[in-house]
Protein backbone atom coordinates (compact mmCIF):
# COMPACT_ATOMS: atom_id res chain seq x y z
CA UNK A 1 0.00 0.00 0.00
CA UNK A 2 1.46 3.33 -0.99
CA UNK A 3 1.62 6.34 1.30
CA UNK A 4 -0.89 8.10 -0.90
CA UNK A 5 -3.39 5.30 -0.39
CA UNK A 6 -2.86 5.27 3.37
CA UNK A 7 -3.29 8.98 3.69
CA UNK A 8 -6.11 8.92 1.17
CA UNK A 9 -8.10 6.75 3.55
CA UNK A 10 -7.46 9.17 6.41
CA UNK A 11 -8.41 12.23 4.42
CA UNK A 12 -11.50 10.50 3.18
CA UNK A 13 -12.56 9.65 6.70
CA UNK A 14 -11.96 13.17 7.88
CA UNK A 15 -13.31 15.34 5.16
CA UNK A 16 -16.95 14.29 4.94
CA UNK A 17 -17.41 13.89 8.69
CA UNK A 18 -16.00 17.38 9.19
CA UNK A 19 -18.56 18.83 6.85
CA UNK A 20 -21.37 16.80 8.37
CA UNK A 21 -20.40 17.53 11.95
CA UNK A 22 -20.22 21.21 11.21
CA UNK A 23 -23.52 21.13 9.34
CA UNK A 24 -25.15 19.31 12.23
CA UNK A 25 -23.96 21.82 14.79
CA UNK A 26 -25.25 24.67 12.63
CA UNK A 27 -28.54 22.88 12.12
CA UNK A 28 -28.98 22.42 15.85
CA UNK A 29 -28.76 26.17 16.38
CA UNK A 30 -31.33 26.96 13.72
CA UNK A 31 -34.70 27.28 15.47
CA UNK A 32 -36.58 27.07 12.19
CA UNK A 33 -35.01 23.72 11.33
CA UNK A 34 -35.78 22.46 14.83
CA UNK A 35 -39.45 23.35 14.42
CA UNK A 36 -39.46 21.50 11.10
CA UNK A 37 -37.78 18.52 12.71
CA UNK A 38 -40.38 18.47 15.52
CA UNK A 39 -43.24 18.60 13.01
CA UNK A 40 -41.84 15.70 11.00
CA UNK A 41 -41.14 13.61 14.10
CA UNK A 42 -44.64 14.38 15.36
CA UNK A 43 -46.30 13.15 12.16
CA UNK A 44 -43.99 10.15 11.95
CA UNK A 45 -44.99 9.17 15.51
CA UNK A 46 -48.67 9.71 14.73
CA UNK A 47 -48.32 7.45 11.71
CA UNK A 48 -46.44 4.75 13.62
CA UNK A 49 -48.69 4.77 16.67
CA UNK A 50 -51.98 5.28 14.82
CA UNK A 51 -53.77 2.16 16.10
CA UNK A 52 -52.95 3.09 19.71
CA UNK A 53 -53.65 6.81 19.72
CA UNK A 54 -56.66 7.01 17.41
CA UNK A 55 -59.87 7.06 19.46
CA UNK A 56 -61.75 5.01 16.84
CA UNK A 57 -60.98 2.83 13.84
CA UNK A 58 -60.57 4.61 10.50
CA UNK A 59 -63.65 2.92 9.08
CA UNK A 60 -65.66 2.43 12.21
CA UNK A 61 -69.23 3.74 12.04
CA UNK A 62 -69.52 5.99 15.07
CA UNK A 63 -72.59 8.03 14.30
CA UNK A 64 -73.98 7.62 10.82
CA UNK A 65 -77.45 7.53 12.39
CA UNK A 66 -76.88 11.10 13.66
CA UNK A 67 -76.29 12.38 10.12
CA UNK A 68 -79.22 14.01 8.40
CA UNK A 69 -79.73 15.58 5.00
CA UNK A 70 -78.35 18.85 6.36
CA UNK A 71 -75.08 17.22 7.35
CA UNK A 72 -73.33 15.36 10.15
CA UNK A 73 -72.62 16.52 13.71
CA UNK A 74 -69.68 18.90 13.97
CA UNK A 75 -66.79 18.87 16.42
CA UNK A 76 -67.73 17.73 19.93
CA UNK A 77 -66.10 16.33 23.08
CA UNK A 78 -66.25 12.78 21.75
CA UNK A 79 -65.37 13.59 18.17
CA UNK A 80 -62.88 16.46 18.18
CA UNK A 81 -63.02 17.01 14.46
CA UNK A 82 -66.59 15.90 13.95
CA UNK A 83 -67.97 12.98 11.97
CA UNK A 84 -67.51 12.63 8.25
CA UNK A 85 -70.28 12.06 5.75
CA UNK A 86 -70.10 8.31 6.17
CA UNK A 87 -70.40 8.52 9.94
CA UNK A 88 -66.70 7.95 10.65
CA UNK A 89 -64.64 9.84 13.23
CA UNK A 90 -62.66 12.48 11.31
CA UNK A 91 -59.79 12.69 13.82
CA UNK A 92 -59.17 8.96 13.64
CA UNK A 93 -59.18 9.11 9.86
CA UNK A 94 -56.63 11.94 9.91
CA UNK A 95 -54.43 9.91 12.26
CA UNK A 96 -54.60 6.79 10.10
CA UNK A 97 -54.25 8.97 7.02
CA UNK A 98 -50.80 10.02 8.21
CA UNK A 99 -49.69 6.46 7.49
CA UNK A 100 -50.82 6.57 3.88
CA UNK A 101 -49.87 10.12 3.03
CA UNK A 102 -46.40 10.00 4.62
CA UNK A 103 -45.63 6.52 3.37
CA UNK A 104 -46.67 7.26 -0.21
CA UNK A 105 -44.72 10.50 -0.11
CA UNK A 106 -41.67 8.81 1.35
CA UNK A 107 -41.62 5.87 -1.03
CA UNK A 108 -42.17 8.03 -4.10
CA UNK A 109 -39.54 10.61 -3.15
CA UNK A 110 -37.05 7.89 -2.23
CA UNK A 111 -37.57 5.85 -5.39
CA UNK A 112 -37.29 8.95 -7.57
CA UNK A 113 -34.16 9.92 -5.68
CA UNK A 114 -32.45 6.57 -6.02
CA UNK A 115 -33.13 6.12 -9.72
CA UNK A 116 -32.22 9.75 -10.41
CA UNK A 117 -29.07 9.30 -8.35
CA UNK A 118 -27.89 6.31 -10.35
CA UNK A 119 -28.73 7.84 -13.74
CA UNK A 120 -27.22 11.21 -12.85
CA UNK A 121 -23.98 9.86 -11.50
CA UNK A 122 -23.50 7.48 -14.42
CA UNK A 123 -24.20 10.27 -16.90
CA UNK A 124 -21.91 12.71 -15.13
CA UNK A 125 -19.06 10.31 -14.61
CA UNK A 126 -19.19 8.42 -17.90
CA UNK A 127 -19.71 11.49 -20.06
CA UNK A 128 -19.80 11.22 -23.85
CA UNK A 129 -22.60 9.37 -25.58
CA UNK A 130 -24.07 7.86 -22.40
CA UNK A 131 -24.30 11.30 -20.87
CA UNK A 132 -26.02 12.72 -23.96
CA UNK A 133 -28.56 9.91 -24.20
CA UNK A 134 -29.46 9.90 -20.50
CA UNK A 135 -29.72 13.66 -20.21
CA UNK A 136 -31.78 14.10 -23.39
CA UNK A 137 -34.25 11.56 -21.99
CA UNK A 138 -34.35 13.54 -18.76
CA UNK A 139 -34.95 16.74 -20.73
CA UNK A 140 -37.96 15.16 -22.42
CA UNK A 141 -39.36 14.10 -19.05
CA UNK A 142 -38.80 17.59 -17.68
CA UNK A 143 -40.60 19.04 -20.68
CA UNK A 144 -43.86 17.64 -19.37
CA UNK A 145 -44.94 19.58 -16.29
CA UNK A 146 -44.72 17.30 -13.23
CA UNK A 147 -48.37 16.95 -12.37
CA UNK A 148 -49.36 16.23 -15.98
CA UNK A 149 -46.68 13.56 -16.26
CA UNK A 150 -48.01 12.00 -13.08
CA UNK A 151 -51.57 12.16 -14.43
CA UNK A 152 -50.46 10.49 -17.65
CA UNK A 153 -48.74 7.70 -15.74
CA UNK A 154 -51.73 7.09 -13.49
CA UNK A 155 -53.99 7.03 -16.55
CA UNK A 156 -51.71 4.36 -17.96
CA UNK A 157 -51.34 2.23 -14.83
CA UNK A 158 -54.79 2.76 -13.37
CA UNK A 159 -55.69 4.40 -10.09
CA UNK A 160 -54.40 3.13 -6.78
CA UNK A 161 -51.79 3.44 -4.07
CA UNK A 162 -48.71 2.04 -5.74
CA UNK A 163 -49.61 3.61 -9.07
CA UNK A 164 -49.47 7.02 -7.41
CA UNK A 165 -46.12 6.19 -5.86
CA UNK A 166 -44.72 5.23 -9.26
CA UNK A 167 -46.17 8.34 -10.90
CA UNK A 168 -44.81 10.78 -8.34
CA UNK A 169 -41.53 8.87 -8.16
CA UNK A 170 -41.02 9.09 -11.92
CA UNK A 171 -41.58 12.86 -11.92
CA UNK A 172 -38.75 13.13 -9.38
CA UNK A 173 -36.23 11.11 -11.41
CA UNK A 174 -35.12 13.81 -13.89
CA UNK A 175 -34.80 16.42 -11.14
CA UNK A 176 -32.34 14.30 -9.17
CA UNK A 177 -30.53 13.01 -12.23
CA UNK A 178 -29.86 16.54 -13.43
CA UNK A 179 -28.85 17.76 -9.99
CA UNK A 180 -26.44 14.93 -9.37
CA UNK A 181 -24.92 15.06 -12.85
CA UNK A 182 -24.10 18.73 -12.38
CA UNK A 183 -22.55 18.07 -9.03
CA UNK A 184 -20.58 15.04 -10.26
CA UNK A 185 -19.24 17.07 -13.20
CA UNK A 186 -17.88 19.63 -10.76
CA UNK A 187 -16.36 17.00 -8.47
CA UNK A 188 -14.85 15.02 -11.34
CA UNK A 189 -12.44 17.85 -12.09
CA UNK A 190 -11.31 18.24 -8.48
CA UNK A 191 -7.71 17.61 -7.53
CA UNK A 192 -8.51 14.76 -5.14
CA UNK A 193 -10.15 12.82 -7.97
CA UNK A 194 -7.12 13.38 -10.13
CA UNK A 195 -4.95 12.22 -7.25
CA UNK A 196 -7.05 9.09 -6.73
CA UNK A 197 -6.85 8.33 -10.42
CA UNK A 198 -3.09 8.89 -10.38
CA UNK A 199 -2.55 6.32 -7.63
CA UNK A 200 -4.62 3.84 -9.58
CA UNK A 201 -7.95 3.69 -7.74
CA UNK A 202 -10.53 1.89 -9.85
CA UNK A 203 -13.21 3.91 -11.63
CA UNK A 204 -16.07 2.50 -9.64
CA UNK A 205 -14.28 3.14 -6.36
CA UNK A 206 -13.56 6.72 -7.40
CA UNK A 207 -17.20 7.30 -8.25
CA UNK A 208 -18.63 5.75 -5.11
CA UNK A 209 -16.11 6.68 -2.46
CA UNK A 210 -14.67 9.95 -3.72
CA UNK A 211 -17.09 11.72 -6.02
CA UNK A 212 -20.50 10.73 -4.65
CA UNK A 213 -19.90 11.58 -0.96
CA UNK A 214 -18.82 15.06 -2.01
CA UNK A 215 -21.59 15.55 -4.53
CA UNK A 216 -24.36 14.35 -2.26
CA UNK A 217 -25.15 17.37 -0.10
CA UNK A 218 -27.37 19.22 -2.62
CA UNK A 219 -29.15 15.90 -3.17
CA UNK A 220 -29.99 15.60 0.51
CA UNK A 221 -31.44 19.11 0.56
CA UNK A 222 -33.42 18.39 -2.59
CA UNK A 223 -34.51 15.07 -1.10
CA UNK A 224 -36.19 16.73 1.86
CA UNK A 225 -37.87 19.26 -0.40
CA UNK A 226 -38.92 16.46 -2.78
CA UNK A 227 -40.56 14.71 0.16
CA UNK A 228 -42.59 17.89 0.75
CA UNK A 229 -43.64 18.15 -2.90
CA UNK A 230 -44.38 14.43 -3.03
CA UNK A 231 -46.89 14.74 -0.19
CA UNK A 232 -48.56 17.67 -1.99
CA UNK A 233 -48.57 15.88 -5.35
CA UNK A 234 -49.96 12.70 -3.88
CA UNK A 235 -52.70 14.70 -2.18
CA UNK A 236 -53.30 16.53 -5.46
CA UNK A 237 -53.70 13.28 -7.40
CA UNK A 238 -56.00 12.04 -4.65
CA UNK A 239 -58.01 15.23 -4.94
CA UNK A 240 -58.34 14.73 -8.71
CA UNK A 241 -59.85 11.33 -8.00
CA UNK A 242 -56.77 9.37 -9.03
CA UNK A 243 -55.94 8.18 -5.54
CA UNK A 244 -56.83 4.88 -3.92
CA UNK A 245 -60.25 3.96 -5.30
CA UNK A 246 -61.29 2.22 -2.13
CA UNK A 247 -63.16 4.95 -0.23
CA UNK A 248 -62.16 3.27 3.00
CA UNK A 249 -58.53 4.35 2.52
CA UNK A 250 -58.05 7.46 4.65
CA UNK A 251 -55.70 9.37 2.32
CA UNK A 252 -55.67 13.11 3.06
CA UNK A 253 -56.04 14.33 -0.53
CA UNK A 254 -58.85 11.90 -1.25
CA UNK A 255 -60.59 13.01 1.95
CA UNK A 256 -60.61 16.57 0.59
CA UNK A 257 -62.25 15.53 -2.69
CA UNK A 258 -65.52 14.50 -1.13
CA UNK A 259 -65.64 17.64 0.96
CA UNK A 260 -65.45 19.88 -2.11
CA UNK A 261 -69.15 19.23 -2.57
CA UNK A 262 -70.11 19.67 1.08
CA UNK A 263 -68.10 22.78 1.81
CA UNK A 264 -71.13 24.75 2.90
CA UNK A 265 -72.49 22.25 5.42
CA UNK A 266 -69.24 20.89 6.90
CA UNK A 267 -66.21 23.15 6.40
CA UNK A 268 -64.29 21.53 9.27
CA UNK A 269 -64.09 18.33 7.25
CA UNK A 270 -62.12 20.25 4.64
CA UNK A 271 -59.94 22.12 7.09
CA UNK A 272 -58.71 19.10 9.08
CA UNK A 273 -57.03 17.07 6.29
CA UNK A 274 -55.83 20.29 4.68
CA UNK A 275 -54.10 21.47 7.84
CA UNK A 276 -52.55 18.03 8.28
CA UNK A 277 -51.09 18.26 4.76
CA UNK A 278 -49.84 21.82 5.29
CA UNK A 279 -48.14 21.04 8.62
CA UNK A 280 -46.39 17.89 7.45
CA UNK A 281 -45.24 19.55 4.23
CA UNK A 282 -44.12 22.62 6.17
CA UNK A 283 -42.05 20.36 8.41
CA UNK A 284 -40.10 18.96 5.47
CA UNK A 285 -39.73 22.38 3.87
CA UNK A 286 -38.33 23.85 7.09
CA UNK A 287 -35.82 21.02 7.45
CA UNK A 288 -34.82 21.35 3.79
CA UNK A 289 -34.31 25.07 4.20
CA UNK A 290 -32.25 24.62 7.34
CA UNK A 291 -30.17 21.89 5.72
CA UNK A 292 -29.48 24.05 2.70
CA UNK A 293 -28.10 26.77 4.93
CA UNK A 294 -26.18 24.31 7.08
CA UNK A 295 -24.55 22.57 4.12
CA UNK A 296 -23.81 25.72 2.14
CA UNK A 297 -20.02 25.82 1.81
CA UNK A 298 -20.17 29.61 1.53
CA UNK A 299 -21.47 29.76 5.07
CA UNK A 300 -18.97 27.25 6.47
CA UNK A 301 -16.97 28.29 9.48
CA UNK A 302 -19.64 30.74 10.63
CA UNK A 303 -20.88 28.51 13.43
Amino acid sequence: MSIAELEGADVQRDAPSGLWREAWSRLRRNPVAIIGFCLVVFFALVALLAPWIAPFGPNQDVGFSQCSTSGCPGPSIHHWLGIDLNGRDELSRIIFGARFSLLIGFVSALSGLSIGLVLGSIAGYAGGLIDTIVMRCMDVMLAIPGLLLAIGIVAMLGTGLWQIMVAVGVTNVPIFARLLRGSVLVQREQDFVLAARAVGVRRRAILFSHILPNAISPVIVQGTLAMATAIIDVAGLGFLGLGPQDPATPEWGTMLTQVNEYLQSAPWLAIAPGVAIVLSVLGFNLIGDGLREALDPKLRGRV
Partner: protein, 334 residues
Protein backbone atom coordinates in the same frame (compact mmCIF):
# COMPACT_ATOMS: atom_id res chain seq x y z
CA UNK B 1 -26.63 36.36 -30.02
CA UNK B 2 -27.99 34.81 -33.22
CA UNK B 3 -25.75 31.80 -32.68
CA UNK B 4 -27.13 31.37 -29.18
CA UNK B 5 -30.73 31.45 -30.42
CA UNK B 6 -30.01 29.01 -33.24
CA UNK B 7 -28.29 26.65 -30.82
CA UNK B 8 -31.23 26.77 -28.43
CA UNK B 9 -33.66 26.18 -31.30
CA UNK B 10 -31.65 23.16 -32.46
CA UNK B 11 -31.72 21.75 -28.94
CA UNK B 12 -35.50 21.92 -29.20
CA UNK B 13 -35.61 19.33 -32.00
CA UNK B 14 -34.56 16.25 -29.96
CA UNK B 15 -36.83 17.32 -27.12
CA UNK B 16 -39.86 17.65 -29.37
CA UNK B 17 -39.07 14.34 -31.07
CA UNK B 18 -38.65 12.69 -27.68
CA UNK B 19 -41.96 14.14 -26.54
CA UNK B 20 -43.75 12.81 -29.60
CA UNK B 21 -42.26 9.33 -29.04
CA UNK B 22 -43.27 9.44 -25.40
CA UNK B 23 -46.84 10.48 -26.14
CA UNK B 24 -47.07 8.05 -29.06
CA UNK B 25 -45.78 5.22 -26.91
CA UNK B 26 -47.97 6.21 -24.00
CA UNK B 27 -51.28 5.64 -25.78
CA UNK B 28 -50.01 2.25 -26.93
CA UNK B 29 -48.95 1.28 -23.43
CA UNK B 30 -52.44 1.85 -22.06
CA UNK B 31 -54.31 -1.19 -20.85
CA UNK B 32 -56.23 -2.74 -23.73
CA UNK B 33 -55.55 -2.10 -27.40
CA UNK B 34 -55.93 1.44 -28.78
CA UNK B 35 -58.88 0.34 -30.90
CA UNK B 36 -60.55 -1.08 -27.82
CA UNK B 37 -59.81 2.14 -26.00
CA UNK B 38 -61.30 4.19 -28.80
CA UNK B 39 -64.44 2.10 -29.06
CA UNK B 40 -65.08 1.38 -25.41
CA UNK B 41 -65.72 -1.94 -23.73
CA UNK B 42 -68.71 -3.15 -25.69
CA UNK B 43 -67.09 -3.13 -29.14
CA UNK B 44 -67.53 -6.19 -31.38
CA UNK B 45 -64.37 -7.91 -32.70
CA UNK B 46 -65.45 -6.98 -36.21
CA UNK B 47 -65.71 -3.30 -35.37
CA UNK B 48 -62.32 -3.44 -33.67
CA UNK B 49 -60.72 -4.88 -36.80
CA UNK B 50 -62.35 -2.19 -38.89
CA UNK B 51 -61.14 0.59 -36.60
CA UNK B 52 -57.66 -0.92 -36.46
CA UNK B 53 -57.50 -0.73 -40.22
CA UNK B 54 -59.08 2.74 -40.36
CA UNK B 55 -56.52 4.20 -37.94
CA UNK B 56 -53.64 2.27 -39.45
CA UNK B 57 -53.13 0.31 -36.25
CA UNK B 58 -52.40 -2.86 -38.19
CA UNK B 59 -49.24 -1.35 -39.69
CA UNK B 60 -45.76 -1.84 -38.13
CA UNK B 61 -44.94 0.50 -35.23
CA UNK B 62 -42.30 2.67 -36.99
CA UNK B 63 -44.74 3.38 -39.82
CA UNK B 64 -47.49 4.16 -37.34
CA UNK B 65 -45.15 6.57 -35.61
CA UNK B 66 -44.24 8.24 -38.90
CA UNK B 67 -47.95 8.62 -39.72
CA UNK B 68 -48.56 10.03 -36.26
CA UNK B 69 -45.76 12.58 -36.72
CA UNK B 70 -47.22 13.64 -40.06
CA UNK B 71 -50.71 14.09 -38.59
CA UNK B 72 -49.50 16.00 -35.55
CA UNK B 73 -47.23 18.31 -37.51
CA UNK B 74 -50.12 19.15 -39.81
CA UNK B 75 -51.88 20.48 -36.70
CA UNK B 76 -54.25 17.58 -36.11
CA UNK B 77 -54.13 16.51 -32.46
CA UNK B 78 -56.88 13.92 -32.66
CA UNK B 79 -60.59 13.81 -31.91
CA UNK B 80 -62.30 13.40 -28.57
CA UNK B 81 -64.09 10.10 -28.20
CA UNK B 82 -66.70 11.59 -25.88
CA UNK B 83 -67.63 14.83 -27.64
CA UNK B 84 -66.38 13.93 -31.16
CA UNK B 85 -64.90 17.41 -31.42
CA UNK B 86 -61.33 17.85 -32.64
CA UNK B 87 -58.82 18.39 -29.84
CA UNK B 88 -57.63 21.59 -31.53
CA UNK B 89 -61.16 23.00 -31.50
CA UNK B 90 -61.45 22.47 -27.75
CA UNK B 91 -57.99 23.94 -27.23
CA UNK B 92 -59.04 27.12 -29.03
CA UNK B 93 -61.70 27.65 -26.40
CA UNK B 94 -59.94 26.31 -23.36
CA UNK B 95 -56.35 27.40 -23.75
CA UNK B 96 -57.21 31.14 -23.58
CA UNK B 97 -59.04 30.45 -20.31
CA UNK B 98 -55.95 28.80 -18.84
CA UNK B 99 -53.64 31.53 -20.12
CA UNK B 100 -55.91 34.20 -18.65
CA UNK B 101 -55.86 32.41 -15.31
CA UNK B 102 -52.07 31.94 -15.40
CA UNK B 103 -51.57 35.61 -16.24
CA UNK B 104 -53.90 36.63 -13.42
CA UNK B 105 -51.91 34.47 -11.02
CA UNK B 106 -48.61 35.89 -12.25
CA UNK B 107 -49.82 39.49 -11.96
CA UNK B 108 -50.90 38.74 -8.40
CA UNK B 109 -47.57 37.06 -7.58
CA UNK B 110 -45.43 39.82 -9.10
CA UNK B 111 -47.56 42.72 -7.88
CA UNK B 112 -47.48 41.48 -4.30
CA UNK B 113 -44.23 39.51 -4.24
CA UNK B 114 -41.73 42.08 -5.50
CA UNK B 115 -42.74 44.88 -3.09
CA UNK B 116 -42.98 42.36 -0.25
CA UNK B 117 -39.53 40.92 -0.91
CA UNK B 118 -38.05 44.37 -1.43
CA UNK B 119 -39.30 45.76 1.87
CA UNK B 120 -38.38 42.57 3.70
CA UNK B 121 -34.79 43.02 2.49
CA UNK B 122 -34.84 46.73 3.37
CA UNK B 123 -35.98 45.91 6.88
CA UNK B 124 -33.62 42.91 7.13
CA UNK B 125 -34.05 41.01 10.38
CA UNK B 126 -37.16 42.95 11.43
CA UNK B 127 -40.46 41.40 12.40
CA UNK B 128 -41.79 42.19 8.92
CA UNK B 129 -38.83 40.39 7.34
CA UNK B 130 -39.22 37.32 9.56
CA UNK B 131 -42.94 37.08 8.95
CA UNK B 132 -42.49 37.39 5.20
CA UNK B 133 -40.05 34.47 5.35
CA UNK B 134 -42.35 32.32 7.44
CA UNK B 135 -45.30 33.38 5.29
CA UNK B 136 -43.56 32.37 2.10
CA UNK B 137 -42.63 28.98 3.55
CA UNK B 138 -46.25 28.40 4.52
CA UNK B 139 -47.21 29.59 1.04
CA UNK B 140 -45.12 26.83 -0.58
CA UNK B 141 -46.50 24.26 1.83
CA UNK B 142 -50.19 24.84 1.12
CA UNK B 143 -51.56 22.61 -1.63
CA UNK B 144 -53.18 24.85 -4.26
CA UNK B 145 -56.46 22.99 -4.12
CA UNK B 146 -56.72 23.34 -0.34
CA UNK B 147 -56.07 27.08 -0.50
CA UNK B 148 -58.63 27.27 -3.29
CA UNK B 149 -61.24 25.45 -1.20
CA UNK B 150 -60.62 27.75 1.77
CA UNK B 151 -60.77 30.92 -0.35
CA UNK B 152 -63.94 29.68 -1.99
CA UNK B 153 -65.50 28.93 1.38
CA UNK B 154 -64.63 32.30 2.95
CA UNK B 155 -65.15 34.74 0.10
CA UNK B 156 -67.80 33.01 -1.98
CA UNK B 157 -69.82 30.73 0.30
CA UNK B 158 -69.69 32.77 3.52
CA UNK B 159 -69.23 36.40 2.52
CA UNK B 160 -70.75 36.27 -0.98
CA UNK B 161 -68.19 38.83 -2.13
CA UNK B 162 -66.98 36.94 -5.16
CA UNK B 163 -68.35 34.22 -7.43
CA UNK B 164 -67.20 30.69 -6.61
CA UNK B 165 -67.09 29.00 -10.02
CA UNK B 166 -66.76 29.66 -13.73
CA UNK B 167 -65.46 32.51 -15.84
CA UNK B 168 -68.57 34.69 -16.08
CA UNK B 169 -72.08 34.98 -14.77
CA UNK B 170 -74.01 31.83 -15.76
CA UNK B 171 -76.83 33.90 -17.21
CA UNK B 172 -74.51 36.12 -19.26
CA UNK B 173 -74.88 35.92 -23.03
CA UNK B 174 -71.85 37.80 -24.26
CA UNK B 175 -69.95 37.10 -27.45
CA UNK B 176 -66.30 36.08 -27.01
CA UNK B 177 -64.36 36.61 -30.22
CA UNK B 178 -60.92 35.95 -28.68
CA UNK B 179 -61.99 33.72 -25.75
CA UNK B 180 -59.91 35.93 -23.46
CA UNK B 181 -62.89 37.29 -21.52
CA UNK B 182 -61.07 40.30 -20.07
CA UNK B 183 -59.73 41.22 -23.48
CA UNK B 184 -63.15 40.65 -25.09
CA UNK B 185 -64.79 43.01 -22.63
CA UNK B 186 -62.16 45.68 -23.28
CA UNK B 187 -62.49 45.36 -27.06
CA UNK B 188 -66.26 45.37 -26.80
CA UNK B 189 -66.18 48.43 -24.50
CA UNK B 190 -68.30 46.56 -21.99
CA UNK B 191 -67.48 47.71 -18.43
CA UNK B 192 -70.05 45.33 -16.91
CA UNK B 193 -68.49 42.38 -18.70
CA UNK B 194 -65.01 43.47 -17.68
CA UNK B 195 -65.99 43.68 -14.04
CA UNK B 196 -67.71 40.30 -14.25
CA UNK B 197 -64.67 38.65 -15.84
CA UNK B 198 -62.28 40.18 -13.30
CA UNK B 199 -64.47 39.23 -10.35
CA UNK B 200 -64.41 35.61 -11.52
CA UNK B 201 -60.65 35.74 -11.96
CA UNK B 202 -59.71 37.00 -8.48
CA UNK B 203 -60.05 33.88 -6.30
CA UNK B 204 -58.58 31.37 -8.77
CA UNK B 205 -55.67 33.75 -9.47
CA UNK B 206 -54.87 34.08 -5.78
CA UNK B 207 -55.02 30.31 -5.27
CA UNK B 208 -52.86 29.57 -8.31
CA UNK B 209 -50.53 32.48 -7.58
CA UNK B 210 -49.74 31.44 -4.01
CA UNK B 211 -46.65 29.38 -4.83
CA UNK B 212 -45.15 31.86 -7.34
CA UNK B 213 -45.89 34.60 -4.80
CA UNK B 214 -43.86 32.79 -2.15
CA UNK B 215 -41.02 32.12 -4.58
CA UNK B 216 -40.96 35.65 -6.04
CA UNK B 217 -40.91 37.12 -2.53
CA UNK B 218 -38.00 34.95 -1.45
CA UNK B 219 -35.94 35.51 -4.57
CA UNK B 220 -36.57 39.26 -4.51
CA UNK B 221 -35.52 39.44 -0.90
CA UNK B 222 -32.35 37.40 -1.42
CA UNK B 223 -31.47 39.26 -4.59
CA UNK B 224 -31.99 42.73 -3.08
CA UNK B 225 -29.89 41.69 -0.07
CA UNK B 226 -27.12 40.64 -2.46
CA UNK B 227 -27.19 43.75 -4.59
CA UNK B 228 -27.50 46.15 -1.67
CA UNK B 229 -23.89 45.60 -0.66
CA UNK B 230 -22.39 45.94 -4.12
CA UNK B 231 -19.73 48.58 -4.64
CA UNK B 232 -21.74 50.50 -7.21
CA UNK B 233 -24.58 50.93 -4.75
CA UNK B 234 -22.16 52.34 -2.20
CA UNK B 235 -20.72 54.63 -4.86
CA UNK B 236 -24.17 55.85 -5.82
CA UNK B 237 -24.93 56.57 -2.21
CA UNK B 238 -21.57 58.24 -1.66
CA UNK B 239 -22.05 60.61 -4.54
CA UNK B 240 -25.19 61.81 -2.80
CA UNK B 241 -27.97 60.21 -4.83
CA UNK B 242 -31.23 60.28 -2.82
CA UNK B 243 -31.93 56.87 -1.19
CA UNK B 244 -35.10 56.34 -3.25
CA UNK B 245 -33.21 56.97 -6.47
CA UNK B 246 -30.50 54.49 -5.42
CA UNK B 247 -33.14 51.88 -4.69
CA UNK B 248 -34.94 52.42 -7.95
CA UNK B 249 -32.07 52.88 -10.36
CA UNK B 250 -29.37 50.66 -8.91
CA UNK B 251 -30.69 48.16 -6.39
CA UNK B 252 -34.03 47.14 -7.86
CA UNK B 253 -32.96 47.19 -11.48
CA UNK B 254 -30.07 44.81 -10.86
CA UNK B 255 -32.01 42.69 -8.43
CA UNK B 256 -34.72 42.12 -11.04
CA UNK B 257 -32.39 40.01 -13.18
CA UNK B 258 -32.70 36.71 -11.28
CA UNK B 259 -36.34 37.51 -10.56
CA UNK B 260 -37.14 37.66 -14.26
CA UNK B 261 -35.92 34.08 -14.83
CA UNK B 262 -37.95 32.79 -11.94
CA UNK B 263 -41.03 34.56 -13.23
CA UNK B 264 -40.57 32.98 -16.65
CA UNK B 265 -40.10 29.49 -15.26
CA UNK B 266 -43.07 29.84 -12.95
CA UNK B 267 -45.33 30.93 -15.80
CA UNK B 268 -44.61 27.63 -17.51
CA UNK B 269 -45.37 25.73 -14.32
CA UNK B 270 -48.60 27.64 -13.78
CA UNK B 271 -50.00 26.17 -16.96
CA UNK B 272 -49.83 22.73 -15.39
CA UNK B 273 -50.60 23.82 -11.83
CA UNK B 274 -53.82 25.14 -13.25
CA UNK B 275 -55.17 21.58 -13.35
CA UNK B 276 -55.99 21.64 -9.65
CA UNK B 277 -57.16 25.26 -9.47
CA UNK B 278 -59.44 24.76 -12.44
CA UNK B 279 -60.98 21.73 -10.80
CA UNK B 280 -61.73 23.65 -7.58
CA UNK B 281 -63.22 26.68 -9.33
CA UNK B 282 -64.81 24.79 -12.26
CA UNK B 283 -62.72 27.00 -14.57
CA UNK B 284 -63.31 25.86 -18.16
CA UNK B 285 -59.61 25.68 -19.11
CA UNK B 286 -57.23 23.02 -20.37
CA UNK B 287 -56.67 21.64 -16.87
CA UNK B 288 -60.28 20.88 -16.01
CA UNK B 289 -60.72 19.47 -19.51
CA UNK B 290 -57.85 17.04 -18.97
CA UNK B 291 -59.23 16.07 -15.56
CA UNK B 292 -62.60 15.20 -17.02
CA UNK B 293 -60.84 13.36 -19.84
CA UNK B 294 -59.23 11.08 -17.24
CA UNK B 295 -62.59 10.38 -15.68
CA UNK B 296 -64.16 9.52 -19.04
CA UNK B 297 -61.02 7.71 -20.27
CA UNK B 298 -60.90 10.03 -23.26
CA UNK B 299 -57.36 9.06 -24.26
CA UNK B 300 -57.08 11.05 -27.52
CA UNK B 301 -57.88 14.20 -25.53
CA UNK B 302 -55.25 13.31 -22.92
CA UNK B 303 -52.71 12.52 -25.62
CA UNK B 304 -53.29 15.71 -27.59
CA UNK B 305 -53.73 17.87 -24.51
CA UNK B 306 -50.58 16.68 -22.75
CA UNK B 307 -48.54 17.04 -25.95
CA UNK B 308 -49.89 20.55 -26.43
CA UNK B 309 -49.18 21.68 -22.86
CA UNK B 310 -45.69 20.17 -22.98
CA UNK B 311 -44.91 22.01 -26.22
CA UNK B 312 -46.16 25.29 -24.75
CA UNK B 313 -44.08 24.64 -21.63
CA UNK B 314 -40.94 23.99 -23.72
CA UNK B 315 -41.53 27.12 -25.80
CA UNK B 316 -42.10 29.30 -22.72
CA UNK B 317 -38.81 28.03 -21.29
CA UNK B 318 -37.09 28.79 -24.58
CA UNK B 319 -38.40 32.36 -24.57
CA UNK B 320 -37.25 32.73 -20.95
CA UNK B 321 -33.76 31.47 -21.80
CA UNK B 322 -33.42 33.77 -24.78
CA UNK B 323 -34.74 36.84 -23.02
CA UNK B 324 -32.45 36.13 -20.12
CA UNK B 325 -29.51 35.99 -22.49
CA UNK B 326 -30.58 39.33 -23.92
CA UNK B 327 -30.75 40.93 -20.47
CA UNK B 328 -27.59 39.30 -19.16
CA UNK B 329 -24.58 39.37 -21.51
CA UNK B 330 -22.58 37.01 -19.29
CA UNK B 331 -24.82 34.05 -20.25
CA UNK B 332 -24.65 34.81 -23.95
CA UNK B 333 -20.87 34.91 -24.07
CA UNK B 334 -20.14 31.81 -22.04
Amino acid sequence: MLRFIVRRLLLLVPILLGLSILVFGWIRALPGSPAQTLLGERATPQLILQVRHQYGLDKPLPIQYWDYLKTVSSGNLGTSITTYRPVTYELQHRFPATVELALGAMIFAIGVGIPLGFFAAKKYGSFFDQSSLVGSLIGISIPIFFLGLILKYIFAVRLHWLPSIGREDILATRAHPTNFYVLDAIIGLDPGGLWDAIRHLILPSIALGSIPLAIVTRITRASVLDVQHEDYVRTARAKGLPPNEVDRRHVLRNALLPISTIIGLQTGLLLSGAVLTEKVFAWPGVGSWLTSAIASRDYPVLQGGILFVAIVFVLVNLVVDISYAIINPRIRLS
